[in-house]
């Protein structure tokens, strides 16, 4: 493992890893973004990156049904979901709702630690796949964990929704690695799961905003008689 300078991965692995790294970086971007709108846009870009990764695997490994999945997940996650959430946000008239529990720099450093944990613990599992390099799997573990940090540290409904959606992005990236040949119907079922989540979070955002006139969840920890 430590003979690092020995060889670079080949071009396919290198570019797949780079896309996976971009997905992780966008997750960090969501963690840092102060504007809720920017967060949702970053989510859309991240979904686009995951779809591109699916397309790369489809083209590079000859799995044509992944093209369908790529197109479907692009349509749903990069276009429809962000549009719906942005629309909800426009109705709420809130740009910035409740900052993080920590400062941005500390949040990033904390997430680096958490991501490193996910990264190396998944690497030590020794899962290999024919579709994508193992690094992509470790990166998707890091994406999932950073999404958790995002949901925990940001105190507003939109960030938590975006954290949940992007967690799903991390998981679909992991599924590209371990089960690239998974039947399309299962993948589609996952996407429908996401649709349900969007509806639930949409209702949550509306109800919460209607009750407390803000998107922040900071005042939810008090009991009301």
């Amino acid at each position: 493992m430590f003979h690092l300078a020995a060889g670079a991965p080949n071009v396919f692995d290198g570019s797949a890893n780079t896309i996976a790294v971009i997905v992780l970086l966008l997750e960090f971007g969501m963690l840092r973004a102060a504007l809720l709108r920017a967060q949702i846009q970053l989510y859309a870009v991240q979904s686009l990156a995951v779809s591109v990764l699916a397309g790369v695997v489809a083209g590079g490994r000859g799995i044509p049904e992944l093209f369908a999945l790529a197109a479907l997940s692009f349509l749903l996650k990069a276009v429809i979901v962000p549009m719906v959430v942005l629309r909800l946000l426009r109705d709420a008239h809130a740009d910035i709702a409740g900052s993080g529990a920590l400062g941005v720099a500390s949040e990033v450093v904390l997430s680096i630690v958490v991501a490193a944990f996910g990264y190396f613990s998944f690497a030590s599992l020794g899962i290999t796949s024919s579709a994508l390099p193992t690094t992509a799997l470790s990166l998707s573990a890091a994406v999932v964990l950073v999404a958790f940090v995002l949901m925990i540290l940001r105190r507003d409904v939109v960030s938590q929704a975006v954290g949940f959606f992007s967690l799903e992005n991390g998981i679909s990236m992991a599924s590209l690695v371990v089960a690239a040949g998974m039947p399309l119907i299962l993948e589609v079922a996952f996407l429908f799961d996401l649709l349900v989540a969007v509806i639930v979070f949409g209702v949550l955002m509306r109800v919460h905003h209607g009750q407390s006139q803000s998107l922040s969840t900071a005042n939810l920890d008090r009991l009301r008689g």
Partner: protein, 319 residues
Amino acid sequence: MITLPLPLIQALQVLTIMVGAPAISGVIAQVEGRLQGRRGPRILQPYYDLAKYFHKESLAPEGASAFFLAAPLISFACYLAVPLLIPVLTTFPLPLGNMGDILGGGIVLGLASFIVAIASAETGDAYAQLGSSRSRTFGAITEPVVLLVVFSVGLLTATDLPYALAGTVMSGPEQIVRPAHLLAAAALFMVILFETARIPVETHSGTLELGMIEHARTFEHSGPYMALLTWGSSAKQFVFYTLFINVFAAPWGLATSGRLDAVALAMVSLFVKALALGIIVAVIDNTFAKLRLFKITEFVSAAFLLAVLAIFTLYLGGG
């Protein structure tokens, strides 16, 4: 075609940086002016400025020692020592090219800025001291990023000689798309934005003291000493650009032999690439809003993240 002797090429590397640096600054200032809806200064304006400074008298504050006057000379010499170590014109190491590695170059650059900071601390001027203390503080924050970039270069090439990395990058497309290389290059780019006083808080050409870090340090210098400091800071910018272009991003167009035409072509291509990078930097500089001073940590933490991820992907074997 004549083949140039190696020591001459080595001297040409330094001369290219020395003579070309003000032109790069001039083009950036021109582009910046256009972006802001002004006509912008002439491209040769930095040279006229230098000529003007060299003809002015120089004053030193009362009580300042000879070090105050020596500092501009030393820092200028430091900036011109770095081109000996990095691939400016050639792909093959020149006689003095293996004298120091990337860390060595970093130390020389750090020394230059340290010397200027000490000199400005001698003046007793509040703004100059403010600038030097700020530049030291924020320099310390960016240091870990630079170190991690150097580490990832070391892991990529099993050496930390800049020539080796440039050679590795040119060896094939799989070396370019590997995430570790891209991340380290992006982290270095962010450090360059910071070090050349573009982003995130400094105004590059403004006269507002509170927005200055690098420029505040030189307040008390005048005449030829001021000229050397100004020249030095544009040389530093060109050195950083060269480091980024010829080591990380695009080490193409360098001379593979000492033939005159190859070296001349390398000079031209270096200028073209540096101008392209400078225009990108100017666009970034004018597109993003400046941050509050204390948000520097946010900017640096982003660069740090990139550098750490580069190391991580390398250790996973997928970099």
